[in-house]
């Protein structure tokens, strides 16, 4: 939050740094398809965490339902392609819109009746389970596969390098959306809601409406990412509505620091990569090491470093300024 500062030159610089870093990673991986797939997944997860930052970080609503929106968007986009022949390049917007519609249907009564804090977290966690159970009834327990076509029209390529590039573009767009929110009226309103909702309401902010806006933007982005997630996973089923993945998005957002874009990216990239490393090295002998790591980091962050990675970045920034 602080590292990005306020000047637009500085923002351009930060974006450039992110873009260059994203561009360098495939060179390091040197054409190893497994690592490229991993890198694309990590970048996609980072974008989900950055999108979560809008509702969780700025608005301060602990949303545990990320994969409800990822699943709806992804499955709608894929089904539109399979059943109606609509190419995913257009379909992902329909998928995003479907997620947004769900968010509006859920969000209006939820914010209208003042559901917040733990109750909001529970509600969103329950939402994932509801979608999981209902889609199991509708879709059955089978896995579905996308048609074997590739190309820009289908946003689907055999080379994971290009999938990685698509994920990177989505990450940059999500970051841009965050920056736009942060520097606009909505951003200040959302932050004041996070700090003290009652006070925000007293000074005349329509808290319901702005929380709904945050939820809508967040769900739209996740809905769009859903299809890319399916392409990377190679298939889709009712299991996409996954509680523990939804939880891990929120976990990475909290560890990154609320309202911090760079903190979210760093925590998602580090935790997700470490998690994948543990899973591939010890997954067969000691399963669950990756999640154990998340748990330990979460407890440590919660007790000792509630500002998350963003707090550490701020401290480093301050220390560097002092030296100068």
């Amino acid at each position: 939050m602080v590292a990005f500062g306020t000047g637009s030159k500085k923002i351009a610089l930060e974006l450039l740094v992110i873009a260059i870093l994203l561009a360098v990673i495939p060179l390091v991986l040197m054409g190893n398809a497994y690592y490229e797939l991993l890198a694309a997944t990590v970048v996609l997860f980072s974008s989900m965490v950055v999108a979560w930052n809008i509702i969780g970080g700025y608005a301060g609503q602990l949303d545990l339902g990320a994969f409800a929106y990822v699943g709806v968007g992804g499955i709608i986009t894929s089904e539109l392609w399979i059943k109606a022949g609509i190419p995913p390049l257009l379909g992902i917007f329909a998928g995003g819109a479907a997620s947004l519609l769900i968010a509006v249907i859920i969000g209006i009564p939820t914010f209208r009746f003042g559901i917040k804090e733990v109750w909001y977290a529970l509600l969103t966690a329950a939402l994932v389970v509801i979608f999981n159970n209902l889609s199991r009834v509708l879709m059955g327990p089978t896995d579905y596969y996308l048609p074997p076509k590739t190309g820009i029209l289908y946003l689907k390529f055999n080379s994971y390098e290009i999938m990685y590039a698509i994920a990177s573009v989505i990450l940059i767009l999500t970051v841009l959306a965050n920056l736009a929110i942060e520097r606009s009226k909505i951003g200040y309103y959302l932050k004041s809601i996070r700090e003290d909702e009652l006070a925000a309401e007293m000074i005349g902010i329509d808290t319901r409406r702005y929380k709904l806006y945050a939820l809508m933007i967040y769900s739209f982005f996740l809905g769009v990412m859903g299809y890319i997630y399916i392409v990377l996973a190679a298939s889709f089923s009712y299991r996409m509505f996954d509680s523990s993945s939804s939880l891990s998005i929120a976990i990475m957002g909290i560890i990154g620091g609320l309202g911090s874009i760079e903190g979210g990216i760093v925590s998602a990239m580090v935790l997700r990569s470490l998690g994948e490393y543990f899973r591939s090295s010890f997954g067969s002998t000691v399963p669950g090491l990756d999640l154990l790591l998340y748990g330990i980091v979460l407890v440590i962050v919660g007790i000792f470093q509630p500002e998350g990675i963003a707090g550490i970045i701020n401290r480093i920034n301050k220390a560097m300024k002092k030296k100068r």
């Binding site: 301060g60 602990l62 009564p109 939820t110 009746f113 003042g114 559901i115 804090e117 733990v118 109750w119 977290a121 529970l122 509600l123 966690a125 329950a126 939402l127 389970v129 509801i130 159970n133 209902l134 199991r136 009834v137 509680s243 523990s244 939880l247 976990i251 909290i254 609320l258 000691v286 399963p287 669950g288 090491l289 999640l291 154990l292 998340y294 748990g295 330990i296 980091v297 979460l298 407890v299 962050v301 919660g302 007790i303 509630p306």
Partner: protein, 289 residues
């Protein structure tokens, strides 16, 4: 078409299940009510306790119900340990931080269990309650009846405890108003530790009951955490009766949901009811505040 016998059978099963659920949620309601701590690791503690039941009853060849005598004091102490180690530092902090720490604890417990016992479900091979009565068209499993009876007895005992003993009254007054309770000379720190221990001890009892007919696997806790919170939300801190009624609603809804839809969609029914309750009765169905 669903026959009336099947409907009756499922309703009775749902009532038994609901009484058990309310016992599970009771510890959570107590902890949340007295100390305002949001504990998302509730179900995972139950899962760990269930593994203890499995280990002791297999190794010592005793009935799972007997293990409760060992587990209740053990988990009371474990609960106090968790309180001083992890809960006290986040007392009074934002809900989000409390959720983060307890979710972290849940993940740690879950994955330690996964690493130690792998993902295959474990069940106790025998229980003295492995038989059933036939009551006309109705089949009543002894283990489920036993669980329901123990749940009722425990909640009655808890009710007496909360109304007649000094500690119980201190817990209730702290639930009502923390500052005033402190002014009246209640040592809230010790009270919190005891409450947390008691809540975890209640989980240990529930896990012994669960293992008379259920199985344990590392992810058992997730669904129990969510169900317990749903019951607490619907009960609205309305005391023990509120928790019991909400538990019954959840149990019967789950049981009938698996009858009318499919068993895999049964939780959707419960959570849709939860949505409606939160939207239209945000203070819970039986709430006091």
């Amino acid at each position: 078409m669903i026959s009336p016998e099947l409907l009756l059978q499922n309703s009775v099963d749902g009532i038994f299940l609901g009484l058990f659920y309310s016992l599970v949620a009771m510890g959570l309601a107590l902890i949340f009510g007295v100390m305002d701590i949001i504990n998302f690791a509730h179900g995972d503690l139950l899962m760990i306790a269930a593994y203890f039941v499995w280990l002791t009853s297999v190794d010592l060849s005793v009935d799972p119900t007997v293990t409760a005598l060992l587990l209740i004091p053990l988990f009371f102490i474990i609960g106090i340990g968790i309180f001083f180690g992890m809960i006290q530092p986040v007392l009074g902090k934002e809900p989000l931080i409390q959720i983060a720490v307890t979710v972290g604890l849940g993940l740690i417990l879950q994955n330690i269990a996964l690493a130690m016992f792998k993902a295959q479900p474990k069940a106790v091979p025998y229980s003295i309650f492995n038989f059933s009565y036939s009551l006309g068209p109705l089949t009543i499993y002894a283990s489920k009846l036993f669980i329901a009876v123990i749940s009722i007895v425990t909640m009655y005992a808890l009710n007496v405890f909360l109304n007649k003993t000094y500690i119980g009254l201190a817990m209730r007054s702290t639930t009502d108003n923390r500052e005033v309770a402190q002014l009246m000379g209640i040592n809230t720190r010790m009270l919190y530790a005891v409450t947390f221990g008691l809540g975890v001890a209640l989980i240990a009892l529930s896990s012994s009951l669960w293992m008379t007919f259920g199985q344990v696997q590392p992810y058992l806790g997730t669904s129990f955490s969510l169900i317990s919170w749903v019951i607490v939300a619907m009960g609205g801190l309305g005391g023990i009766t509120g928790v019991v009624y909400s538990g019954l609603i959840v149990g019967v809804a789950e049981s009938l949901g698996s009858l009318f839809l499919t068993p895999s969609a049964r939780m959707a029914v419960v959570y849709i009811i939860f949505f409606l309750v939160l939207w239209f009765r945000p203070r819970g169905l039986f709430g006091r505040r």
